[in-house]
Amino acid sequence: MAASAKRALALVRERPGLRLRSAVSASFLIWVLVSGSTRAQLAQSVGGQADSPSSVHGRVLNRLTHEPISRALVFSPDQRYATLTDDLGRFEFKFPPLVPEPKEEQTAAPDASVFRARQLRMIQNARPTFFYARKPGFLQNGSKPSSAQVATNQSEILVFLDPESLIVGHVNLPGSEGDMRIRTDLYRREFREGQEHWDLARTFTTWADGEFRFSELTAGIYKLGSGEQLDRDPLSFVPGGQLFGFAPIFYPGATDFSVAGSIQLGVGATFQANLSPVRHAYYPVKIPIRNASADQSISLRIYPLGHPGPGYSLGYNSAEQLIQGSLPDGNYTVEADARGGQSRSTGFLNFSVRGGPSEASALTLIPNTSLTATVKEEFNSAQSAPAVMNMAPVDGASNFARQRRVDVQVTLMPIGEFGSGEAAASQPVENSQDNALVIPNVRPGRYRVHVVTGFGFAASVVSGGTDLLRQALVVGLGGSASPIEITVRDDGAEVDGKVEEATECHVYFLPDAEGSGQFREANTTQDGSFFVWQVPPGTYRVLAFESPQNDLAYADAEVMRKLESRGQVIRVDAGQKEHLRLKIIPGGDSQ
């Protein structure tokens, strides 16, 4: 296959900035490739050729035990083919004979009826190229697609379903008589830019007896907590009197999310977890916001002093510009995020509650920072530098100015185990002479700087002497930050390769922690080949997996050490062409 064809077929992409699991789970179910590519199969069908299989058969199996799954639904994406498996997990689809193209149609001048007939024949002759399967008790998302190529009618298609995992248990509220429901929150460990991050995965309001059940979970690492709840037992709940409430608690008994235990949930496992929230006296809290304006909407986060995490909440009284609510004794941080019109601002305040109403000093909102970034292009090959003609005459002059396209996107990804997860993205500066970008409304915090280039690669990203390819960008409250200087080069390495004895799989380039490399990933074609270009010079560990690895914590030195015996290490220099042969890592587990 010619290199250009490879390029066309291989799906190469940089790791997207924000990886959302929901994007994966939006598509349903395990899928199985029956034969060839969709395009090839359709071409065959439409052409009416006789080598198209007249039937397919297969089995649906439990991925964990490899036992057959009876009464599972197997269906084609267009829902024209569907059946339930038998007691041995077997299914079969018989395809109707292909409808040949009538001779007269080929010769006749095409009109609407001919077009319609062709359309119907195409539908009739279309063969499903893969199937979905589902059954209660098994996961409905295809997190680990399995593929089986069917060359002939005889091959058996194996569809693997992952048994669901569950986290179940009770919230024990003292004094409850089956009349107090409480919200439980389940957080899942996700990875962003190779770094651990906890995202709210599900919530479940308990049944009246305190039971909660999270079902249809994927295997992974979770944290579990209960929400705040006012104790309305009439015995102690007197209007205007002392309030009591159940403070957030995190499995197994932590009051602070950051020190909560993690639940390692295996495939098909059921984890039993109980929560026992503690009843505390709650005291009124009032914090004025000094410089809020009426048209601003304010969102608040409250967490134990300096430890961002979920659980506590306070309200905002916009009429009086007052943060209001109640909290138990403790030291807290409140974070206010104000939006209104174009401007956004942020404020932080630490305060304590000590056995009585807390009237903390006022919180001051400070406008968020705008960062600028400049892009310098160091392109070697003349033809590779994409140029656009500036069609607007400059200063009435008739000659067109040759101008480089600013085709660089800078994204600031917040770092932190538990953050708002809100990324800040760059915008081009209008009428800029020097390819400048601006990143407006950057909240104070630590960020990983992610640079996507339309061409080439970001060879260096520096701000005030800090190498942002390797180190975090720290943005202070209202502080001015040095501009980000980006250098784009076009002399990255080209790596092509093949994963042995593999069909479609996923290849990851993990940069050496100390080196100059940058994370890259690629999906292979059907025959296991892949091609990646503009790879920044550096040292990489290259790994190939059957299934996508969304949890590669490559920024974590310890995780990287565990991978030391795996894959292949390469070093690429500028402009180098490298060829790799990789072995697939069995089991698909990078951890």
């Binding site: 829902q79 018989k94 059954k135 089956g178 009246a208 015995l235």
Partner: protein
Amino acid sequence: MTLPARTCRMVLAILGIALVRLSGARTAQTQNPPPQDASRSGQTFKIAGTVVSATTGAPLSQARISIGETRDRGRAISMVTSEDGHFEFSQLKPGKYSLQGAKRGFISSAYEQHEQFSTAIVTGQEFSTENLVLRLTPMALITGHVTDEFGEPVRSAQVTLYLENHGGGMTRILRFSNSQSDDRGFYDFSLLRPGKYYISVTAKPWYAIHPTTASDSGDRPASQVSPALDVAYPTTYYSGATEADSATPIEVKGGDRLEIDIHVNPVPALHLIFRIPEPEPDRPNNNFTMPVLQKHVFDSVESVQTDGMNSVAPGVFELTGVPPGRYTVRTKNADSGQLEQSADVDLARDGQELNESRGESLGSLKLSLKMPGDEPLPKQYGVGLQDSRRRMVAFRQGDPSGQFSFEDLPPGKYAILVGAQTAYSVVRTTSPSGSSPGHDVNITSGAAVELTASLAAGVVAVEGVVHKKGKPLAGIMVALVPNDPVAHVDLFRRDQSDFDGTFVLRGLIPGSYTIVAVEDAWGLEWLQPAVLARYVQHGQNLTIGELMRGTVSLPDPIEVQPH
């Protein structure tokens, strides 16, 4: 206790019988003055008694009991009952007190509470207030499992609880709560008060597949899917009915723990056809909406979720996954652009055309409010339309313009209702074609009605006392019945007599009324003309004049009529 100093008294003859007291402070609740000698002597009184379970009669310890003067509810005092369920408040001045009890697992309740009414305790020498019995009803719980035709749990089933409601003088079955089944098919409803409930389950078979089968001209290839998979669960009511009218009621008593399992069974899903007219050069085809299926569920109309709509040919759509049943179909008429709603139609046949179930065009109403006198509009208010079954079919928050617009109204008669801090009623509607008394508006098929609604404010209160055989009686329902009650439902006022037989009816709109007092009348369907007619003939007549303000004291007691 004396009335506010600024209160002046004057006598006005209303039908020659009523005494009117004009009060500058309308918000202050008027009380019957306690015996003068008691307040002079500084004598104090007790409110004491026992809290018991309404179901078992057993005394309830650890219940919180609170009392507050009815004129000053913010300053309640409370205590917790002892082991034997006893409570006692002493050192009380003569006055009128509300008495309330609350305990975990029980429904909080005021003394002799019915709907939102209760009997206030009056302290004084002639009242025995030391052996009261306050009954609290334990809450009930319904749990259950939803299972499919194989006895397997149905996950994510929508379970809906309906409650038969007797409030407001008529019986209606309304949606009360909902729950979603978990992986075991389990659901629950807690904190339930006694009553007659119904439960429905809406779910989809996990294995259901609805291939597009419609054929424009018979040449579409047949689907390869077994009919056993092209199925749907009809909304299923306990105990197995698939239409609300055949549902079995669930009688829930205080403290019940009921297990209500519901089984769903698949039926072949319908494939319905909907056509949109072909676009013409002078009329771009963007003036259509997809049909909406609705179902009458008890006293409400609920939208039905369909599985999907697929284009099967130019201008032809197929609606799949719908269980057969009686529906109303809402479509937009492509010619007029108006929404139309069909009468109930049986959808039972594959390939049935939804366009054929064309019905009456929906109407619209533009409304502007006219306040009494030159009063400004209330700061916070809303306007609602109630249909002939007293279902609130539309509601809009009011704004300073006083202009409202209601679209997509099925033809019929509606009552225009206004909600605000002060009571208001629409007393007259005026349109370009004329003016008519009352709050009703008639929307005919496809009509665009424009109305001005003139409001009257309810600024008069009436107080009095009920007697039976010459003695005041507590806990009696007192109703102010307008003339032509059915047309003036919003003019009704009710109260429950207090310990001393007194009652207050507030927010009265000018007009002619009859006041009746009926024993054991709670739960009565008094909005039925025949029910009321029996009592009205023995009631007391009363007319509230346009210029009246303040509180009217009835000089004669209202005689209690037996149920």
